[in-house]
């Protein structure tokens, strides 16, 4: 018995340690970059930290910033466990935001108790559709999902621009002739209630965490998740066992997209803007949450629950970066570069972890008792 415990323990330990070490190395590189930029890395770290956790309000801002990352990340894990890769977060966020916006525009007068759930649901559905499309394309027309999702990103941006400049543009923008591509300020009945007065902490944050937990239970505690994972590991075995592979692939990307869409709705109705506005690029609205969510999921070991703290970390990194720029005049793109480095290190480390594990097990006492087991088993 002991040795198995030992093995598990080692696995858990490495599982936690290795990514952290990877992150540490990445941050070291970040510090080096700071020096190269002529800034004091300690001040830099100080600024990062202060910007992310410096005050209750900033802490809240960090949480808010982490929210879409949690949702997208949780979605990524669902897709990944079904072995589909979802690069379409950006388009799904936008789709969710658009549908929830339309909903809010259609029922401005509705009581918050109805309207808030409705816009969130609309976001969920909008994103779900944007995700299910590439899902169905993969399942029924074997179109590679990586590509279709990338293409859909490009398409949705243009679609958003079209809507925000035309059908959905704030009438005031037209009469004033300023024509900023943005919707009118949406009904306050739809805005997500703030949880702590004087901070930006709003209902979206707990919702995101809940969604991540739900994703975990779905994957490992329900037949639906069981089927997704079976399809993910071996479509053939799943099919022979009577599982509808096509439907499950569509479902996986649909769910993944739906969570991203929920993030989209939260971006609109949790923001101070309380409206959608575009600069012509996806990032202008999503702040690249569709990509950063992948990073968060990864750093969380593609496990929905670990995605939460990991997303919080990246949320901190991103909010901190603004402070970094304000205090040290270092471009916030430093944070983006850092994200990239972290992904690279973490993704590579997973293999290092396996190697370390093999090493430890082969050398240490762990396998010897097992041998007796196998031998006496005959």
């Amino acid at each position: 018995m002991f040795p198995k415990k030992g093995a598990v323990l080692i696995d858990k330990l490495l599982g936690a340690l290795v990514p952290l070490m990877a992150a540490a190395v990445a941050f070291a590189l970040g510090a080096i970059m700071l020096v190269a930029l002529g800034a004091n890395p300690f001040e830099g770290l100080q600024a990062l930290f202060d910007g992310a956790f410096g005050s209750g309000d900033r802490l809240a801002a960090t949480a808010v910033r982490a929210t879409p990352l949690i949702l997208v990340g949780a979605g990524i894990t669902i897709a990944f466990r079904t072995s589909v890769i979802n690069i379409g977060g950006e388009s799904q966020i936008i789709a969710g935001a658009l549908l929830s916006t339309v909903t809010a525009l259609s029922f401005p007068g509705l009581t918050p108790y109805l309207l808030v759930p409705m816009v969130l649901m609309a976001g969920f559905i909008g994103g779900g559709i944007a995700g299910a499309i590439p899902g169905a394309l993969k399942a029924y027309a074997s179109v590679n999902e990586i590509l279709s999702t990338i293409m859909l990103n490009l398409i949705m941006v243009q679609f958003m621009n079209y809507l925000l400049r035309g059908p959905l543009i704030d009438p005031y923008e037209l009469e004033a002739g300023t024509r900023i591509p943005q919707t009118q300020r949406l009904s306050d009945n739809a805005s997500l209630p703030t949880l702590v007065d004087g901070t930006r902490l709003h209902l979206g944050v707990p919702i995101a965490v809940a969604a991540a937990v739900a994703a975990y239970f779905l994957l490992w505690r329900t037949p639906v998740g069981f089927r997704l994972r079976a399809v993910g590991h071996s479509p053939k075995a799943a099919r022979a066992a009577g599982i509808n592979v096509q439907r499950n692939i569509t479902l996986a990307l649909g769910l993944s997209g739906a969570l991203a869409g929920l993030a989209g709705a939260i971006l609109v109705f949790g923001s101070q803007g309380q409206r959608m506005v575009t600069d012509g690029s996806a990032a202008g609205f999503t702040a690249s949450a569709g990509f950063n969510g992948i990073v968060a999921a990864l750093f969380g070991g593609l496990h929905p629950l670990w995605t939460v703290p990991s997303a919080f970390l990246f949320g901190a990194l991103l909010t901190g970066a603004t402070q970094l720029q304000r205090v040290l005049q270092v471009p916030s793109s430093l944070a983006v570069a850092l994200n990239g480095i972290i992904v690279i290190f973490v993704i590579s480390s997973s293999r290092v972890r396996v190697r370390l594990k093999k090493l430890l097990e082969n050398s240490s006492l762990i396998n010897k008792p097992d041998q007796e087991e196998t031998t006496e088993a005959t």
């Binding site: 037949p223 994972r229 071996s234 009577g242 396998n367 196998t374």
Partner: protein, 506 residues
């Protein structure tokens, strides 16, 4: 009695550990010039590991070996090839999208570097085909070749590299009887040319037919060595398993009742839009085992997939327990009482990455007994799995062990357990004992006969003629997509069935 001089290979005290497994334990093994030396043993006994070490795919933890009397260290397949060692793997090592010539040329230095020189290669291939009677066209793409032809390409690859020592790990597992005969002729000739061969198989009559010497492994240790002259199949089986085994099960008379599965005028397309099954009709009774014999590629696979609902019918109809299932999904058919043991246990039969427990509930995972308010009832599932592991004598460290780390035979038992637990009224069993050692095979056979007694109607599709003859109440012979004959057990005769399989019409 082995003196270095006439030994091509000598392995001394080879030990190999894998996490939690002692795969090879102080193994001594040698091969002489011009002999076929067979490695025999149960699944997981350590055969593949030993030869993979020889071929540089794995590194031994202890022990060393001498080649042609000289100590050598082989760190990679490249070094093995350089040492004129060749290996034919159980799962073909061919690139299906490349031509025969390209597959052979792979890894060889080209005379026209940096360009390939396929003309020369093709020419040499033709010569080799001539010498050894291995007919293949160098310019065809592998994916267009039959299993037997691919096997030939593998051998040509070895001959082209002028191997002196050739390892064959279960080369016959996927071959038809005739293909096996052809193969053995070639192997024998190679041995007579002075080359040394290591042969691995679970089929005892093959071992008896081909071997000069036989070494038996159990749990990674050598438990004995013998020669066909000194032994027989029964003795070999007992050496392997370490207890008496019944090689040919006896079958109580069948009490057939109402019909379970009716196939009428089925026409089914193959992968390449070719007709694989042509207007085939068949009726299956409760409490009987119907064996389908046939050379692979005559439509058995497509027929099985169609019955399982994995392949659409072009025309014809199918009723399962009196319900028309011609268009029904696999799930519906299973709900109607169909059990299905696919031909390939991995990846078709079980999810390699799933735990034993997960694979045991792969089909019935949504059954109410495993659920509690829509969520899995872990306890119920664990209890069920433990019971299955015990009932079916599945050798596994725990029910949480990843299935991929079980031996072929034990993976097969997991699948069998899952399918039988569902109490099928119709069981579709494809190659249920391929690559499985006789111990496990015997066990699986007993289980199938049990089911028969319980009234299950079983279709047994197998390329192992002994298996079909031993288990079936009726034997249907398939040839070119049609059933050319259905022979009752009592008047079934090996030679005559063999002829029918080859397309002879009497």
């Amino acid at each position: 009695m082995t003196s270095t001089s006439n030994n091509l290979l000598e392995m001394r005290g080879i030990t190999k550990r894998f996490p939690g497994v002692l795969a090879n334990d102080q193994i001594d093994f040698d091969v002489r010039y011009g002999e076929v030396h067979t490695l025999l043993g149960e699944n997981g006994a350590g055969k593949s590991t030993l030869v993979k070490i020889l071929f540089g795919l794995y590194q031994a933890d202890e022990g060393q070996f001498l080649l042609r009397g000289k100590p050598v260290h082989i760190a990679s397949p490249a070094e093995a090839i350089a040492a004129r060692i060749g290996m034919i793997h159980q799962h073909f090592m061919l690139v299906p999208t490349l031509t025969v010539a390209e597959n052979v040329a792979l890894g060889l230095a080209s005379s026209r570097r940096p360009f390939t020189d396929l003309e020369t290669v093709s020419a040499r291939i033709r010569e080799i085909s001539e010498e050894h009677g291995l007919a293949v066209d160098p310019s065809v793409i592998i994916s267009h070749l039959s299993v037997g032809e691919r096997q030939r390409v593998e051998i040509i690859k070895a001959l082209y590299r002028e191997v002196e020592l050739l390892v064959l790990d279960e080369p016959t597992a996927v071959l038809t009887p005739n293909e096996v005969d052809d193969l053995f002729v070639i192997l024998r000739r190679m041995a007579d040319n002075g080359q040394g061969l290591i042969f691995i198989s679970h089929k005892l009559h093959e071992v008896m037919a081909l071997s000069d010497r036989i070494t038996v492994l159990r749990n990674g240790r050598v438990v004995g060595a013998t020669t066909p002259a000194e032994t027989d199949r029964q003795k070999l089986a007992e050496m392997m398993v370490g207890r008496t085994v019944r090689l040919t099960p006896e079958l109580p008379p069948a009490q057939t009742a109402e019909s379970r599965l009716v196939l009428s005028n089925l026409t089914i397309n193959g992968d390449a839009e070719t007709i694989a099954v042509n207007n085939l009709s068949l009726e299956l009774q409760a409490g009987e085992i119907l064996g389908v014999a046939g050379v692979s590629g005559n439509g058995q696979r497509e027929l099985a997939e169609a019955i399982a609902g994995l392949r659409p019918l072009e025309s014809g109809a199918m009723t399962l327990n009196d319900k028309d299932v011609s268009l029904a999904s696999t799930r519906d058919r299973r709900n109607l009482g169909l059990g299905y043991i696919p031909e390939e246990r991995i990846p078709d039969g079980a999810v390699a990455e799933f735990s034993v427990s997960e694979n045991l509930i792969l089909v019935d995972h949504a059954a109410s007994t495993f659920l509690d308010k829509g969520m899995f009832d872990e306890q119920a599932i664990a209890d069920h799995s433990e019971k299955m592991v015990e009932d079916f004598a599945i050798k596994t460290p725990s029910i949480k062990t990843p299935t991929s780390s079980l031996s072929g035979g034990n993976i097969q038992k997991v699948i069998l357990a899952r399918e039988l637990a569902a109490r099928p009224t119709v069981l579709l069993a494809c190659q249920p004992t391929r690559g499985v050692d006789i111990g496990a095979a015997e066990y699986i056979h007993t289980r199938l006969i049990e089911q028969r007694a319980l009234g299950t109607a079983t279709i047994l599709i197998s390329e192992d003629l002994d298996e079909v003859l031993g288990l079936s109440d009726r034997i249907a012979v398939m040839y070119e997509g049609q059933i050319v004959a259905i022979v009752p057990r009592q008047d079934a005769e090996r030679s005559q069935i063999g002829l029918l399989m080859a397309g002879a019409t009497d």
